[in-house]
Symmetry: D2
Subunit: 458 residues, 4 copies
């Protein structure tokens, strides 16, 4: 069997090298994009008079036939044709004869594969956005549902101050909102048509890339043909966005896992998102969350992989760049699955407001209220902080919460304390007093929710 580019070679490549260099096993996934790009290219070739209308019709028919065969699982994929591009071209020629060999006019695999990846990542970004939206929606819905619930807010994984559970959930909403902005930026970066660059220098055929761009929905061309075939920034952009999204999801997953532990019991996973043990009958493992957390590893790994591939690579195309695909495919699959799974987890998990409330008893997370009280009575904040600290130490030793101390006990630490201090030492009051923009008081959280819903609808 003779290679399409074999004219100059004295012998066929060894079987193993052929397998090693073939990308068919994974770039198969680009078949739809490859056909979509070829259709637009063929139509433009005809418009420009480079091929005849009849040839164009034949090509378009043949490509449709290829697509059908692929969709039905009947396409004869053959590794000896290296990649999806040559496989489709070869099949096309079998189906329609010599006209098939004209499709590649004015094009090289270098700009063709670049186009396929642009089309692929653009459509996957849109899918990722949809799933991000679902996860964000799940968060807003739970936030709206549990609006009155107070939980301990943590810093350094120690109880810090009481916050609304809804406020806590919305923190994740805004992280994922930034992820959506990042994907939008990625879509901006991917919005450049590489076709017309050919091998690297442009082509001698009177192509009209503007019309191809229009047909395929691109608003810009690459300014430079060498750059067009060498650029993989838009893939790095996606891999990075996926890694950050994964990192965000890992934080949420971690909190859900710990929050589902017996000691916390803030949450209970729905059975659909938990698994059991082959040996311990009582186990209910937050399997899905653990996997979401773990999959951050491959998302970061994939980003590193492509950065390493590109490091120090001379222009223009080098085969190293074939290594861009599997990393990207894997991050696409991973991030899409994790987003959906986490949305499911959030929507279905049981929330336990009683445990959240109980966990704050005698945790001294109202100590800041006491310090604020003292500061408001005129003590410089640093001194107020110090007094409150000594009160905490005393209450801790007595095994009581601050508000369980008597007024005279409190006054022994500072004479400016009076009866009204007890009004401050209350979880609801503590939450409601935090009225700064973005603060945890109910009104502000309601505002967050309203803004969030507006964003989701947009």
């Amino acid at each position: 069997l003779s290679k399409l580019w074999g004219g100059r070679f004295s012998q066929d490549g060894g079987q193993r090298a052929e397998e090693f260099t073939s990308s068919l096993s994974f770039d198969k996934r680009l078949s739809r994009q490859d056909i979509q790009g070829s259709e637009a290219h063929a139509r433009m070739l005809a418009r420009q008079g480079i091929i005849s209308e009849e040839e164009c019709a034949l090509i378009l028919g043949g490509l449709r036939q290829c697509l059908k065969e692929i969709e039905r699982g009947e396409f004869p994929f053959r590794q000896e044709f290296e990649d999806i591009h040559l496989n489709i071209e070869q099949r096309l020629t079998e189906l329609i004869g010599p006209a098939g060999r004209k499709l590649h006019t004015g094009r090289s695999r270098n700009d063709q594969v670049a186009l396929d990846m642009h089309l692929y990542i653009r459509s996957e970004c849109q899918e990722v956005l949809l799933r991000l939206r679902s996860l964000q929606k799940a968060l807003v819905d739970r936030a709206a549902e549990h609006l009155g619930v107070i939980m301990p807010g943590f810093t350094h994984f120690q109880h810090a101050q009481p916050v609304l559970f809804s406020h806590y959930l919305m923190a994740y909403f805004w992280m994922f909102q930034r992820d959506a902005e990042r994907i939008a930026f990625c879509l901006h970066q991917v919005d450049r048509l590489p076709l017309g660059a050919a091998a690297l220098a442009g082509t001698t055929y009177p192509l009209d890339p503007h019309s191809v761009a229009g047909e395929l929905g691109f608003t810009r061309l690459y300014e430079n043909s060498i750059d067009a075939v060498s650029d993989r920034d838009y893939l790095l952009e996606f891999l990075f966005s996926a890694a950050v999204m994964g990192m965000h999801m890992s934080r949420l997953a971690e909190e859900l896992i710990i929050g589902s532990s017996r000691e916390f019991s803030f949450y209970e996973m729905d059975d659909a998102f938990a698994t059991g043990s082959s040996i311990m009958p009582q186990k209910k493992n937050p399997d899905v969350c653990e996997l979401v957390r773990g999959k951050t590893g491959r998302l970061i790994g994939n980003l590193v992989s492509l950065l390493v591939v590109l490091k120090g690579l001379p222009l223009a195309y080098n085969s190293d760049m074939q290594e861009d695909k599997e990393a990207v495919f894997d991050s696409v699959d991973t991030v899409k699955a994790c987003l959906s799974m986490l949305a499911g987890v959030i929507s279905t998990m049981k929330v336990n407001p009683g445990r959240m409330r109980a966990s704050m008893y005698r945790d001294f997370c109202l100590a800041t209220e006491l310090a604020d009280y003292l500061a408001q009575k005129g003590l410089p904040f640093r001194d107020a902080h110090h007094v409150a600290g000594r009160v905490v130490a005393y209450a801790m030793k007595k095994g009581m919460d601050i508000w369980e101390l008597t007024l005279s006990e409190l006054q022994s630490f500072s004479e400016i304390i009076s009866e009204d201090v007890y009004d401050y030492l209350d979880y609801e009051v503590a939450v409601q007093r935090r009225t700064t923009p973005g603060g945890t008081c109910r009104e502000n959280v309601e505002q967050q929710i309203a803004k969030a819903l507006a964003l989701l609808e947009a």
Copy 2:
């Protein structure tokens, strides 16, 4: 010496733990930002009536004094005060008395450090943009200077087709242009004021973060206080941008290093950007380019570092996040230095058009012209490609270039070849015929240069 937060603690921290947890040795670098943020905070506290005008004046005076001491190298940095924030507050109080202790009202170190980092990265992004511009300018200038020079364009590091040297240089211009867009996106992400989030829940003081934002040049607030203190996305964004920029620079550096090798001799580094050997008297090493290429390592490493730090981290602030600083500082320094160095290298290196031209003799990089010629005469491209391949094999065996073959030799491969074939087998013609947008013909490259200059002026 007693810690500012020591009220509840029974003993002072061990000396070594203090050293381990202290961030002063590196967060010192934030002193200007810390003072700038504190000034805005103090003025707002006064406007809101939380502190008096007199106190505010005292604080502003004290902060100015601190800044002066820092600039003169006279500021008494003390490790026992953990970080730059406490050091400045402590010094302030020494300078102006109790009013100093009121500065921290309505603020926590959690939102304070977040603000400092926002201010820092914003100003460094602007500096990076300037240096990017210089590097881009250096590329455009050399492109404009050498406009007629033809070099072999490479794919797979083999000669592919002739291109204008200016076209090749401009490919890098557009890469760096994307880097500039990425930094602009980073500036968009950093444009949110975190102040007002306090520890994590907002504060009970009637702050006016909008006015602080205005004063400090932010157009947005964080929507959620927990997110405000937990977010490090804007730093990841910078680290990623720096890593991609580094990757781009490593590609250029690699090409300059190889291009400066004896075998290539396309370039010669200016003495100012090369070094010698301690043992080999003849050596002139492209040291600066090698370092630029090597420093990609730390840029990728720094990105990995912070992604790992954040993976699985519960909300809100955790001390792990203190680890964001050194990675960011290092990437800032590295990327700034590399950009400047590379701009210097590009501006000063000698270019050797003669070697570029000579290297194409008998390299068969005009074979595509022959194939195009045949295709234009009516052969399907795939067949044309095959014929051209056989011609190359023949010429190679004879030790000649294609255009050194006689017409009858050429015709023995295809009868449709006629005398006019020689018009195509010419480097200038090959370049000039590539007229697709972004292609390498002179007019298109001139257009690129014009667009580039317009972008740099904007």
Copy 3:
């Protein structure tokens, strides 16, 4: 000022390029190693008759003087001499005259810096081993101290089965034991003298590297001079060992942080290893553990950095390799500090056996015992597991532990259950029955401790 290698250069390097390429600011740290290596080299040169005994004496005296100046902070470091090697040689020549310029005979900076790094990493590996030992000792000591204490063992962060707290601690001991083996392997890899390779090809002087190796404590030479100056595997080995150690420490730190949360309260950090909050008076943050966990980021990042630097680098020395130092220095410092800190944390933290015990009440971590009981009575294990699962579901609904159910309740799930089932439903019994090698029963844990102590003494 003229460079040592400046003979062929027409102008001095630009100031900024000089700063960019200089490694002095960080390779200063190698001054002791550089002098140690130079002493051995000088003595060998004299033994071989390449320099005279008088010259050798002068050199050794001068080097001692340099060392003294360095130790006293009086050494005149000058950036214009690029690196520590040239700085010392220059100073030596100032001190002793022309003999100083003979020290470099038969040597290049390429093999000199390789030697310095070998000496450096070898000595730091030994220090790391010592600190690993201290951490392991701290774990064994706490394990021995708390031998009777039972805690819930976790899988999927859910209570799984009761284990001895000492058993749990010893799991970490064995991880760190593997780290020690890895460092030992690193010491094996570093045990090759690179001196004699000169620039890359060996030298023409009749050196005797075997005697230098003997003097410096190396048992092997490099077999190939090009490899000797290009090899950085031993540094990767260290960076990897440090990253794995960091990963191990991050797991322990994570568990200590969560275990110190209010919800768990298994541990309380000693005040010396915790910090407070600038705003919340009650806070006691496990700061040191958080930093240990966070520092895993830079340890992984440093490993990535050097791998990236070396990727695709042609032989032999390239300036990219100068980038090996800061990553290694940082990982050395980081891992040493973390090991010591964690040893301190483990030794001093309060352990709360009561909370561990209480947390198991009604957690059903004895369900495996019930399944085992049923299996022992003849039920296939998979069926036993299923019955036990249904018992758990029933008890959970009733809000009781399994052993709180009556015999007839239990028998309603399986008739083979009889009175002796209660003997199995006991934490101590559950622990004591796990007698497989490496299992959690007290005798086996005592054996582990004995083995561990023996290893530490070796």
Copy 4:
């Protein structure tokens, strides 16, 4: 269909979550290891009287049947049984009835999967060693074949000093030798039987893990059951070894790619390891080398992935750890393929000694010889270096090599130069004078080759 662990669950898992958590699609690859481990476990259960001899015979027969079905592609893999372990157990029970359900006695999936991975990586390490050996053999063979050939040795990618081409090739041999040592260390780390740890705490059955270890070829047990199921160090060890191997291969690949460029023409790839272009008929691309170089990316990425997965993970098993497999499988496949490909490339490529020699003309790589000559005549080395540098500058300006200058021209730089200087200015002499151990003179290189062959035979 009811899950094996489903007793406690009120509803079946959602379809998508099942797909998400299932590892069957990739852990299928462990089927042989799983069966091998189960056979040894069953035999031990029988020896210990835990199951009967008849049951054991049934189980062994059933497992053999499973293996047959797998090998024939007839095994009914079912995703609803989560992983390869449950699939085989389920099929076994279908084949042999209730005895099948006894196989899992005293075992958990946690120690079972650990055993499978130990067996897998052990056998793959052996395969990797074989392929490493082939690559090393290819290098030694080419080194032996071309023993007299001289090439320019490079530092900073500039000609440095002449070396034997064989010496250069052997530098890679020794790198790969270190890789072999690293794989051997990995085999040492993997040599611990995890079986007996059960879920995490050991088991209550009177197992005899020592005999299982003996049967399966392990010489050690894990000392601690929690560690046994939590340890993934041996996989990290492999991933790291693969990454370093990949880095080494990337260096060689880079040099072959550059060396195959028209400008160098030191090498020409065999047609079997090169490919052509779809557009440029003359192209012969070193595709295989490019892919080898590019695949370093995924090898480093995979290492990062697993390090990230394990960071901060509490003991003992968590589902995150399921993410260990694909990274390891990919690195195994990648490194095996790259080693074989590179061995093929090395064995078959054409070497062009003429080009190597010609490239040294007028490159001044003999300048060190001149400096050495002057030093031998009594000039301190630093001064000799300076004089030689000035001679180079002069010769360069005249467009001549050093040995093309007249004696009087040379003497104008130093009077101590006499006629015998020309004996030194010779490539063969330069090589032969480098007689330090590991140096490039022919005798030393022959010695290297002899040692290498001895190592390969061992």
